[in-house]
Symmetry: C3
Amino acid sequence: MTEKKSTTIILFSGDYDKAMAAYIIANGAAAYDHEVTIFHTFWGLNALRKDEAISIKKGFMENMFAKMMPRGADKMGLSNMNFAGMGPKMIKNVIKKHNAVPLPQLIEMAQEQDVKLVACTMTMDLLGLQKEELLDQIEYAGVAAYLADAQEGNVNLFI
Amino acid sequence: MTEKKSTTIILFSGDYDKAMAAYIIANGAAAYDHEVTIFHTFWGLNALRKDEAISIKKGFMENMFAKMMPRGADKMGLSNMNFAGMGPKMIKNVIKKHNAVPLPQLIEMAQEQDVKLVACTMTMDLLGLQKEELLDQIEYAGVAAYLADAQEGNVNLFI
Amino acid sequence: MTEKKSTTIILFSGDYDKAMAAYIIANGAAAYDHEVTIFHTFWGLNALRKDEAISIKKGFMENMFAKMMPRGADKMGLSNMNFAGMGPKMIKNVIKKHNAVPLPQLIEMAQEQDVKLVACTMTMDLLGLQKEELLDQIEYAGVAAYLADAQEGNVNLFI
């Protein structure tokens, strides 16, 4: 019996391009028959936000974070050449032109391929994000669960 | 006999939030009974700086770096939403509010749990940092020592 | 028979300092007798650009990217303290002063040590980069080839 290989990615970054890289690797690894987990922490949680406004009572700080952070994958900025938001439009244009897959569809593909999408509960708490604001069918866990996956893994990345 | 698992993290970033992530993973892995090493290089060395001013004769360039770089973990900025220093205050506020652990205490916890904290001697030299300016009880090494640890490791991350 | 260890690095970043870290680790690992691959994707592709202007017919977007992105390793900015381009000069000065190796020479060393330098074809396409613009003697591949290397690897990093 050969054991299944696994890929475990921490997505810390809230940048559109870095999240794209994470999801491209994850989808590739799933196609390669790896068990794949993306553990979203800090700004990476924004990739899992629903794009509609969810009305939830929050403290002042939590409200400020919620307003300042991008609501969902499609609204994230670039790590480089963001140019006050022009960069993401350029990237989305070239993605369309070259028939590549934009981030929201990469996330859907990952869910269809059973990539385990995990939201880090500790940083959700810090940033004041609640389950109602995040995509359905994701899991919630902390650093212990991450380590349990990662220590048996073949490809471990922090993005 | 089962061999001990290990986690080896390169902390390259000088951002408060990324250093928090590194130390949370390191402390988690130590609690999980891993052998844990954090190898601090480039801007990540700032997490190891003492917060008092140390008077050392330095060249012009080295002095400029020393003045411009944050002196210790508590003074580091955020990778995202730094807002000219307002971001770190917000994060520290929510950390306090949610009873989470701020970075300087995460570093102390790591030292108590015998996480090996290493300063990269090559980049210390480049940035003009000297041993007197860094925390006590840390180790000094180069890329060969990092590779010796990492190549036997289970969880290898670059943060 | 002992199997050869391997190190596989994804270089996503287009920052001079992060690329330096990637190439220092890669050269160290090659000296340590690892099989080493650096897989250049997104902004990391800029490290592989030739420094002369190559005249190629491109679309409008591709031309804009080509003009805005740094042409080769020597022209890349810093991830931190870039100060509108003053930071890289400072770093290059201290590199010279301390007899450290600047990035273009680190890349040459890597090629001499048979580090496999790979350009990600999917992101080349997105950013409109063509083979004529990149260094000679590099390889071209996609995420599947990366995973084939990385899943057997000892040290996997995303930089």
